[in-house]
Subunit: 411 residues, 2 copies
Amino acid sequence: MPIIVQKFGGTSVADIEHIHNVAQKVKNEVDLGNQVVVIVSAMAGVTNQLIDWANAAVSDHDDREYDVIVSTGEQVTSGLLALCLQNINVDARSWMSWQIPFQTDNNHSKARITDIGTTAIRNSLNSGVVAVIPGFQGVSSENRITTLGRGGSDTTAVALAAALAAQRCDIYTDVNGVYTTDPRIVSGAQKIEKITYEEMLEMASQGAKVLQTRSVALAMRYNVRLQVRSSFEDAPGTLVLNEDEIVEKETITGIAYSLEEAKITLRGVKDRPGVAGRIFGSLADASINVDMIVQNVSENGETTDLTFTVGKIDLSTAVEVLGELKDEIEFANVTTNPNVSKISVVGVGMRSQPGVAKTMFTTLADKGINIQVISTSEIKVSVLIASDYTELAVRALHSIFELDNPSQLES
Amino acid sequence: MPIIVQKFGGTSVADIEHIHNVAQKVKNEVDLGNQVVVIVSAMAGVTNQLIDWANAAVSDHDDREYDVIVSTGEQVTSGLLALCLQNINVDARSWMSWQIPFQTDNNHSKARITDIGTTAIRNSLNSGVVAVIPGFQGVSSENRITTLGRGGSDTTAVALAAALAAQRCDIYTDVNGVYTTDPRIVSGAQKIEKITYEEMLEMASQGAKVLQTRSVALAMRYNVRLQVRSSFEDAPGTLVLNEDEIVEKETITGIAYSLEEAKITLRGVKDRPGVAGRIFGSLADASINVDMIVQNVSENGETTDLTFTVGKIDLSTAVEVLGELKDEIEFANVTTNPNVSKISVVGVGMRSQPGVAKTMFTTLADKGINIQVISTSEIKVSVLIASDYTELAVRALHSIFELDNPSQLES
């Protein structure tokens, strides 16, 4: 019998009424003849209450005890969903991490999965019982409760789907799929039926916050077919798949944007070996992620300008770090600009279709939009522009790459 | 190093501020050179919230999932207390039931303890780490979370004290000890310094609701020295001990009363063998506890009257059960009286001091109080009287048996 893994996030299990609704969605998969494994998040407000208590107890907490406290939120939902399933005559039971066991390393509060026991759950599934599993947590080699950190429940779901060789892993959320771009900006944005892992990674990390990057990367590695779909309607969502499962590939799959980055320029940097390594090494040591990097050709052979982007929340720390390096690496000054937007055109089809970058740059130029930084990969082209032009750029690119919904265009 | 087990109930861990206070009490025992094991209940309102959710999910729940849900309350407190202890430089960690392991049978929501692993906790204690353990729960032979039912945290504490051969098990609560009688009725009631297990059982089951009967019985069986003391003051409480540890025994230790029973009288019962067995068997089948029983001598050799008491909450069910038996066992009628009070004089000393019953009956008669039913054991005499006379009877007996605080008498 095929195994389907379903994951329901916080908005899907907000309260008891929502959990009853989730039970019905589980029953639908059971009625289709599937074995079902369900991953649940904590109910609305529960995790925040637990975190508030932990913070009220101490300012600087022991992650091991913090994990003991915050992991209870999902544990409660797993018991409640098992009860709601039994209530509609679906045989179900909850499985704690230590019962599975769902093994992780000892890196509390941001643990990584090391091994998942499947025998007990398989036996239970084979006897017709739905498995309900609290997301976001595991058990360490020291037999203590760990949590997986941000987006952990998506990762739990994908990892279990991989371990159980599930036919599909459905991520239920409050949107009904992944769109060609943000529908709040472009009313003609269309739901994407199928998208590759690589594209999804670009879309997600560029600001289309539907799936956590970590869970998409894991799905790609283990070839888990993901589906992003809505808890609140019955239509199919967006399938995230391997490229070879998508027969007809569009050149461009979507347009992503991110307002969460800031630009830093170091002017008059002494142009000698090791300088870039020293700068970006120091930023990395301060846990600051650097995204786009441009280094101008040294004009006089002595100094150069270095431009890069960091997360807006890291901007002040980054400036501090650079200040501490000033004497050592020698540069004229640092300028920063938080009013920037990164616009990305994403699509695996661009590998075989040259000219995407040219079309992108021309379109933006036609609208009078200046490009500050460019970065590219095999399947995307990203540019940094002034944030005031975000909507204009996204709409123009969505249109030029023919992503607008035809029915919207007619009307 | 001596091991001290401390148990803190719901009022003692009501909120984070209270948990900080508990941490200080734990530190005090550590500073005295003890190894400390702490059992905690859930914070105020937490268990009720969990129960409300479970009841909102389904009307008739699976006890296994119910246990998964409600056990999280104590789990949260255990993590929080460990954090608060670390905050005042006391090395501490939480221990979940399955980590200990704290084994029970599979009787979910009212499980009984079968075995307690001590190696891991002992090693941790020996390395100077306080063990914080969620009360009221265990893990079944099927590796699922169980709960011990009402008063379960006291039982957890006593069982661990027995398993670890602890020097003492301190039950912290909102009263500072066991009193010779209810201080709300007799202002001169005195805190008892030492009381035997047997007396405590009689006092507790008679209405002095300080310790759960089950935990006292367990302490008696394994000879665990118990102390009932206050979370909110520093004075010593009441020690519950083996009789041979109490050098000077008072004849009478205390006066207990209970307003929670009701009287049932069956008149004109056909006096033939097997009738009493049939009646009390049927009540037991309906889970109704019968306490005092009096059968009058059959006057004409044909019929008799049978009087007994049941819990007030069971009265209507008991009458139903008896109604169903009417044709079979033949009796004239059933009368009930919920307006009764059971008054008990308790003390191990009465074994060697005859005349306690006589003093009790004479004292009540002098006050014009009619005795409806009498029952006795080796260490107590109980009578059933009209509930209006409760305070009068308790005061008179407390005085005649010289339990009043001398300083109160002088003033």
